[in-house]
């Protein structure tokens, strides 16, 4: 029955054992894809006509920004699953996703700022995308701060899930408003990532790195969730076995 499957998926122990087998493959895939993609992008992709070599930052900036946003939605969706079905595993995924998303947002912001220096001549420009990223970082920090501040884990889980959901409703509005604000205050300057027509010689390395980042994200999320589960389920026999055997 469908419910049984759902129930089993929600079992921390089943999750822990099942994902243990996936981890090495994910780690391998992400390492290979990231290394190959980076070398490809750094050394073999052609120089950009307008921006010169500084555009090579795109190969870390764009994937990080991609996953930072996707990670927020993932966090909110798992929080919603936790709130609706009171599933402990979903809350664990949500809690693990917050710091990972925050780090990715930081990467996107940092590389964007560095990229701005040779492109615009300034590290920080109130560009629509960078500003949206900054707000996304604050949203992540809000969830993390709330989870730190609330003493009881279960209350913190549900409070963070609600906050993540509220944030999700707001993200499109925030993005639209920041976009509008940017066009109001500044004539369209050179955008960092012009989506219009990217040459295949630049697109394929970018795609490689993006897939690599996805694998890396999945691997990191799984390892973080697994340690979180160990901490939360420390009173169960299986966790104590895992902890004493796997030294």
């Amino acid at each position: 029955m469908a419910w049984q499957w759902f129930h089993r998926l929600g079992s921390p122990r089943w999750f822990y054992q099942k994902t243990g087998a996936w981890l090495p493959w994910l780690a391998l895939a992400s390492a290979v894809l990231l290394i190959v993609g980076s070398i490809w992008g750094l050394g073999f992709a052609p120089e950009d006509a307008k921006q010169g070599n500084s555009y090579r930052i795109i190969f870390v900036h764009v994937p990080a920004a991609f996953l930072a946003l996707a990670g927020y939605y993932l966090m909110a969706v798992s929080g919603a699953i936790g709130l609706i079905w009171k599933m402990k595993l979903a809350f664990a995924v949500m809690r693990a996703a917050a710091p990972i998303g925050a780090v990715l947002t930081f990467i996107a912001l940092f590389t964007g700022a560095i990229w701005g220096k040779p492109t615009w001549g300034a590290y920080w420009v109130w560009d629509a995308r960078i500003t949206s990223m900054l707000i996304l970082l604050f949203l992540y920090i809000g969830v993390m701060a709330l989870s730190q501040a609330v003493n009881r884990e279960q209350v913190a889980d549900r409070a963070c899930a609600l906050l993540a959901l509220v944030g999700t409703v707001n993200i499109p509005i925030i993005y639209k408003s920041v976009d509008w604000w940017f066009t109001l205050h500044q004539p369209a300057t050179l955008r960092l990532t012009e989506a219009s027509s990217i040459d295949p010689s630049m697109f394929y390395p970018l795609l490689t790195v993006i897939i690599g980042f996805y694998c890396m994200y999945a691997w990191t999320l799984l390892t973080h969730t697994r340690t979180l589960l160990l901490r939360r389920e420390i009173r169960t026999k299986w966790v104590q076995q895992v902890l004493t055997e796997g030294k």
Binding site: H7, G10, S11, P12, R13, W85, K86, M87, K88, L89, F91, R152, E153, Q154, D157, R232, E233, R235, T236, K237, W238, Q240
Partner: protein, 224 residues
Amino acid sequence: MPVTPKFPVVLQVRDLACDRDGRRLFEGLDFSLCTGTAIQIKGSNGAGKTTLLRTLIGTASDFRGEILWCGSPFPGALPVLRESLLYIGHQGGVRDSLTPLENLIWYGATRESALWALDCVDLSGFEGSLCHGLSAGENRRVALARLFLPQAPSLWILDEPFTALDAVGVATLEQQMAAHLHSGGSILLTSHQPLSLGRLASVDLSDFMVDEPLVAMEAEHVFS
């Protein structure tokens, strides 16, 4: 038509276990509350008396087992239960920037009935002064005045109602409880002191305590 019993069951608790911060407070708790009866919950500090009450009013949701209100299970039955519930917790629910009268009106009382209830708890003359000027015992009596309002709901859940009350206050409250039971209401309360009520049962949470709260659990729970 079958013979209707005199004291039908309103609230049923079956094999209830409550957790707090991952620590099991008690388990295997069973009792039924009938109309016209009172149950006194006993237990040492930290045994989970307040948690039990908060579970029964639906504020705390971390429980396993079954709770039934008039035969229908929690949490679906909660909205109906709340229609006949009067709960007074550790914090009395009295706002100190309001007068006793305004506090009772906030609870839905009319002016006349509020004044009458305040008179019952010996607070007549104080109805117009702000609650932060009153003593702890007087504030407690403002909270308890809700029990003296006409048309009080049928289920009373009271957490340590006698704290901060003087001997006269305790006697008045016991009288009112007896009258409530007599008119077919039911009371669930926690208290350390012995009560002189007619139909009184008691449940000691120490009997349902878990021996070793730190011991490893065999079963795992998917849903929190």
